[in-house]
Symmetry: C2
Subunit: 207 residues, 2 copies
């Protein structure tokens, strides 16, 4: 591939990026429901039909936003993944995950709560999603290697349960915030405590 693309391809890429940037801004400012082809077009300085020269459909734009969101989530998790102690790292990962969902609720919905997108994001196609899960799974493998898991506890199953726990909390908080009054910190403290107690060979301590 050439070091610098042809000016053609370059401008095409610019157009895609500008469209996605405006789309993202609209979602952040007005919610996913306001993401309209006509609105995107006007914001990006195009006619509605021009968007179809760069994206096949509104769904493809949404999918691209979801992909970018997943990469942002991965970055947040990687930052939290630097914590040394495995148990403290789990809590940091949970809080980073919840922080992303709170900062960009519509993006989180798009990635993990819409039928069409989640499958694509996690079905193996999206490498950021795979990397994010690997980050979580790594903690449990580390714990297993250190012999800190109770007998019969499988690291991959625990990682899945951890993710289910965090996603369950976040997703209910997103849709039933009235019912799920306590903040994530409290919910996680309670949920992770039960989880860690059941998982570990020894008591989790106060990490």
């Amino acid at each position: 591939m050439p070091a610098t693309q042809s000016p053609r391809a370059r401008r095409k890429e610019d157009a895609r990026a500008r469209i996605l940037a405006e789309a993202r801004r609209i979602v952040l400012e007005q919610g996913f429901g306001a993401l309209t082809m006509r609105r995107i077009a006007e914001a990006a300085g195009y006619s509605p039909a021009a968007l179809y020269l760069h994206f096949a459909s509104r769904e493809e734009i949404a999918r691209a936003l979801g992909s970018a969101g997943m990469r942002a989530l991965l970055e947040a998790l990687e930052e939290a993944g630097k914590v040394a102690d495995p148990l403290a790292r789990l809590k940091a990962l949970a809080l980073a995950y919840a922080g992303f969902a709170r900062a960009e609720p519509d993006t989180y919905r798009l990635i993990f709560m819409e039928p069409a997108f989640a499958a694509a994001a996690l079905g193996g196609k999206d490498e950021a999603g795979a990397a994010a899960f690997a980050l979580i799974a790594g903690v449990f493998e580390e714990l297993a290697a250190a012999g800190r898991l109770r007998a019969g506890a499988e690291p991959s199953a625990l990682a899945l349960t951890f993710w289910i726990l965090v996603h369950g909390t976040v997703s209910l908080k997103l849709t039933c915030s009235a019912f799920l009054a306590p903040p994530e910190e409290v919910l996680f403290a309670s949920a992770l405590d039960s989880f860690l107690y059941g998982m570990l060979r020894t008591e989790p301590g106060q990490a």
Copy 2:
């Protein structure tokens, strides 16, 4: 209130019921996305405008469907709630919950995964939702009364965690079925084991 309503009110109620029945059929057969005012109207033998004499909006129809779905979920949970042993009852409740979501995925989405409805369903207004949660909370209070919970474990917090675990599993299964390959039974066995280990004073046994 009169034992039998006036024929006026009676026909009005019939119309409402017929509209809701057709709406439910459309959701079950073609998914929530196919729930269109014009489609409902045609199925119920009305013009589109006539629906607005019985419901304020499409959203109100959807809300009514969600309410009915919540009552159906409550019935399923009540059936599972008859199991005598508390731990076996928890597993039965989880499987009944997952069974409802598998049988009516669009209804489950509507109740617990759509922004506008979940709040109304669980914000205290929906008594079926409150009863369903009380059914779960009761198990943990029963365990607490029997002194089977570990020190410091609060029944209401455990009930919430249990619900989060089950909902997290079900909702991810609904959106990321490709990634969450194992059936609910396996997922629950793993997740509930960790949970129960952490919750109980003694080991959970093989309930």
